[in-house]
């Protein structure tokens, strides 16, 4: 029996349909797309897929399907966009429970009605909660509020074999059992399909001020950056942007809080920055990804200026024009390149960037790139602990049916 017929028979509610051109997963064509409406429907799809030995890729809004390495196969796409309900906003508990297909922006619009938010920036417009968890992508606010993994306190997951399982709970403080929610965060859909998530929330700040200053080069920035990191003004975000590899560097600090207090703190930050402008609107590129070729790089906190210097030198060596943007507070940056760079040059730059980031205490991975460029790149690079990761994958998805090949080391 055809796969689609089997799905129609065993899981009609998920509306199986033949995959179209627009359903490709990073260039890999699926056979069927299903749109389940409940955990049980996801489970029945997974059960059938397991019986048929089919590969499966989960999809939310499809905004990050070309992230990571392309899967070696993606026969069934599980589209979670029909599971987009905010199940619970427990305002007094500062907790929300939400289905994975809900858009992050929609969730935050709803939470705002209760004066709260999930403090994760919408880095990629349209992202769903499931996509944010699968990739772990978050923006400037991570400096103060933590990354996705720090805010996620519970998950419901459908395993590769169709079992519906939970980890964590809807209370913020909980150490009962292993914290599997962290394992699923950033796992690129290779361990199971996250269908529901429980997050801790924060009160929406009444006021936000962005303080921005521009520095001619790394040397001018370095002492300022150290002083900002050592500031007691509790900024929410500390962001860097260098649009041209040898150009000036913009440093923007976000301060949040009550009306009078935020002005006073912003003033103190402006003094540290020297000759800074304050605005209640974010800089134009705030919390967005440079690209279309995008690398994510990390360094130790005090080494951001080392990274700026490294990128400047590599730009000259490879004749490319990388844009650098990211959180100096967290030591997590994104480097963007145009589509026109020769794949060999991009690969050369990535290799040296990876070595250089290693010397700065961090690493470099490819977030996304057009297919021709990506084909020339080692997307994930060397990963310490890979053997343990393979064993984890082997237990959760022994037949390698969940997004095979998309993650580190070909997982």
């Amino acid at each position: 029996m055809e796969l689609i017929d089997g799905l129609v028979r065993s899981c009609p509610g998920s509306g199986p349909r033949p995959a179209g051109v627009g359903d490709a997963v990073d260039g890999v064509a699926p056979e069927v797309v299903v749109s389940p409406r409940s955990n049980e429907e996801v489970a029945s799809v997974m059960t059938l897929a397991a019986r048929r030995h089919c590969t499966v890729v989960a999809r939310g809004a499809g905004t990050k399907l070309e992230w990571g390495a392309p899967p070696s196969s993606a026969q069934v796409v599980v589209d979670l966009s029909a599971m987009s309900t905010v199940l619970e906003h427990a305002r007094g508990d500062l907790v929300a429970r939400v289905q994975a297909g809900a858009a992050l922006a929609a969730l935050n619009r709803q939470l705002a009605g209760g004066g709260q938010w999930l403090p994760v920036d919408e880095v990629v417009p349209g992202s769903t909660i499931g996509g944010v968890i699968a990739t772990g992508i978050c923006g400037p606010a991570r400096y103060f509020y933590g990354a996705v993994r720090d805010l996620l306190i519970g998950v419901t997951v459908v395993r590769a074999d169709g079992a519906i399982v939970r980890s964590g709970s809807r209370v913020v403080k909980n150490v009962a059992g292993y914290d599997l929610a962290k394992l699923f965060t950033g796992s690129y859909g290779t361990l199971g399909i996250v269908t529901e998530a429980i997050f801790r929330l924060r009160p929406l700040p009444p006021h936000r001020l962005y303080i921005t200053a521009v520095y001619a080069d790394e040397a001018a920035l370095k002492p300022v950056l150290a002083r900002v990191l050592g500031s007691q003004m509790a900024p929410t975000a500390i962001e860097l942007e260098r649009a041209r590899p040898d150009g000036s560097i913009e440093l923007s600090v976000l301060v949040e809080g009550g009306a009078g207090a935020v002005d006073e703190r912003a003033g103190a930050v402006a003094q540290v920055l020297g000759g800074a402008d304050a605005s209640d609107r974010p800089p134009a590129t705030w919390g967005s990804l440079p690209g279309p070729v995008t690398f994510k790089v990390t360094t130790e906190l005090s080494r951001a200026t080392g990274l700026l210097g490294l990128v400047r030198r590599l730009a000259v060596a490879y004749g490319l024009a990388p844009v650098l943007r990211g959180s100096a507070g967290a030591g997590v940056f994104f480097i963007g390149l145009g589509e026109d760079g020769a794949p060999a040059a991009v690969a050369g730059l990535l290799g040296e960037l990876r070595d250089g980031c290693g010397r700065l205490g961090g690493n470099a991975v490819v977030v996304r790139a057009p297919a021709t460029t990506k084909a020339a790149l080692d997307v994930w690079g060397p990963v310490p602990g890979l053997d343990l990761m393979r064993r984890v994958k082997g237990e959760f998805d022994p037949d390698r049916r969940l997004a095979p090949g998309r993650f580190v080391g070909g997982i």
């Binding site: 965060t185 703190r265 205490g361 990963v383 237990e395 959760f396």
Partner: protein, 501 residues
């Protein structure tokens, strides 16, 4: 003392004589001076901070280096002998209880603060470093380590990693898991793996996230890298006295509803206050049926504004006295009653059970009244101390073990309190861990498939099942352990080194 746990029911069984042969090999490989074989000395390792689970290990090794740990674990794996890691032994769930036919890996002597890296806001530590020593080292540089379990003077960072320790200030700053960026792990096969480091987001699965809070069942951590935070510009502490816990709870609700995020929100009820007064003479307002402690920290201007709001919410909720700590000395005076509450209960009751459960914060008042009803119906006194901001309850169930039937009644009440937590959608443990003590409660919180999924992680790390076996996730055959209780204070508490939270 209750009977030892039948650890052998779940432990892999080594061949007869395996430990004796292993002891000989380890003597030559790591040095006989690091081996503890004397039965009297071994008996000092028979339990952790929860004293009714006692098992004397066959061998203990006081390791000095990661290489020692690797060697011990590798040899254990080869000989199929189970092993358990132990830090300061302050855990409250029996997580470090040894295996009778196994090896105890004692990490207390690996207590070097390897690196204090202030520019990168990190500290690199051996697992035996005491929690408070990190802040002591960083304080001179204007930094601190945020998680502050009450045993922080003695509990080790390795134990904090195992238990995902919290503390009074985790409402705002989170738990150990939010502050660890790197771990060196000796896997249950004896391989050393470096995970993460000083930078964020190492690529691949978040194994650090899986390891923190895994209670030593996935390997032995030999090095920890933690975040250091910049010390806040201002700290303010307020104590508000109420007629009863309902008023204190209402104040907490309105503080949260107003969008404030204090660093700490702590409540003690009348019985807990009485115990603290009897012990440390904390001099809380006379006649208080409950006290609420609120601590705010951050930029001075924010703290000042928040403080006024907090005091207004307390007054509106019926506080009859509000004290503001003028300085660090007065702040310490406010905290001393709270921090000594557990040990203090020993003054008003010969024996007590420390419970650790969590409810959604908004269910606090209802659960407290249900606990009151439970206590009245059973004729068992319960003192309540809790982290009100995150719904983490620490009911202290009082009894006298010399009186027939009191222990059983206290255990019944303690267990029913956890049932209440679960009925309100909470958790069986907020910070003390599952260990041995709460294994039997795990199936009440998680379904069979949830538990089986946890075992997938365990198998990935420890396919032989030798690493701290029989903890965290219940095995089908393990059931019916006695519930926990304290007889007198833990030696560390008695000596003033630790305070139970």
């Amino acid at each position: 003392m209750t009977a030892p746990v039948r650890a052998a029911a779940t432990a892999p069984v080594a061949a007869p004589g395996a430990v004796a042969r292993l002891t000989e090999r380890l003597a030559s490989l790591v040095g006989a001076d690091k081996l503890i074989t004397d039965p009297v000395e071994l008996a000092t390792y028979e339990c952790d901070g929860l004293m009714q689970y006692r098992v004397v290990p066959a061998l203990a090794v006081a390791v000095r280096t990661a290489d020692d740990v690797r060697t011990v674990v590798r040899e254990c794996a080869a000989a199929h002998v189970p092993f358990v890691a132990r830090g300061a032994g302050t855990g409250l769930s029996g997580g470090a209880v040894p295996q009778a036919a196994g090896v105890l890996v004692v990490l207390a002597k690996m207590r070097q603060l390897i690196e204090l890296d202030v520019p990168n806001q990190r500290a690199v530590l051996e697992p035996g470093v005491a929690n408070l020593d990190i802040t002591r080292a960083a304080a001179g540089h204007g930094h601190y380590y945020a998680p502050d379990p009450s045993s922080q003077q003695v509990c080790s960072i390795g134990g904090n990693v195992a238990e995902n320790s919290g503390g009074a200030h985790c409402l705002k700053y989170g738990f150990t898991t939010n502050h660890v960026t790197g771990l060196d792990l000796v896997t249950p096969q004896g391989e050393l793996v470096e995970l993460g480091g000083k930078a964020a987001d190492p690529p691949g699965y978040d194994l650090i996230g899986a390891l923190v809070g895994s209670e030593g069942t996935l390997g032995i951590v030999t090095r920890v890298t933690v975040r250091l935070l910049r010390a806040p510009e201002a700290v303010q502490t307020v104590l508000a006295a109420f007629d009863g816990t309902a008023g204190a709870g209402a104040a907490v609700s309105s503080i949260i509803a107003a969008g404030l995020v204090p660093a700490a929100l702590e409540i003690m009820d009348a019985l807990a206050i009485a115990a603290a007064e009897a012990t440390v003479k904390c001099d809380y307002p006379p006649g208080a049926g409950a006290v609420l402690i609120v601590e705010l920290d951050g930029p001075a201007v924010d703290v000042a504004a928040g403080l006024e709001e907090v005091e207004r919410h307390c007054t509106d909720a019926g506080a009859f006295e509000i004290r503001r700590a003028a300085d660090a000395v007065e702040r310490a005076r406010i905290w001393v009653g709270r921090k000594s509450a557990f040990a203090a209960v020993g003054r008003i009751s010969p024996d007590y059970i420390v419970q650790d459960g969590v409810v959604p914060r908004t269910a606090l008042e209802e659960v407290l009244s249900e606990i009151g009803a439970l206590s009245a119906a059973a004729g068992v006194r319960v003192a309540n101390v809790f982290h009100a901001g995150d719904g983490n309850l620490h009911p202290l169930v009082l009894f006298d073990a010399r009186v027939d039937g009191e222990l059983a009644r206290a255990e019944e009440v303690s267990g029913r309190i956890l049932d209440l937590c679960l009925a309100h959608g909470g958790s069986i443990t907020g910070e003390h861990g599952v260990g041995l003590d709460k294994l039997k409660a795990m199936p009440k919180m998680f379904g069979p498939d949830d538990l089986a999924t946890m075992m997938l992680l365990k198998r990935a790390f420890d396919p032989q099942g030798l690493c701290n076996p029989g903890k965290v996730v219940p095995m089908p055959r393990l059931c019916g352990e006695p519930a926990g209780h304290h007889s007198g204070a833990h030696p560390l508490v008695e000596s003033g080194l630790a305070e139970l939270f």
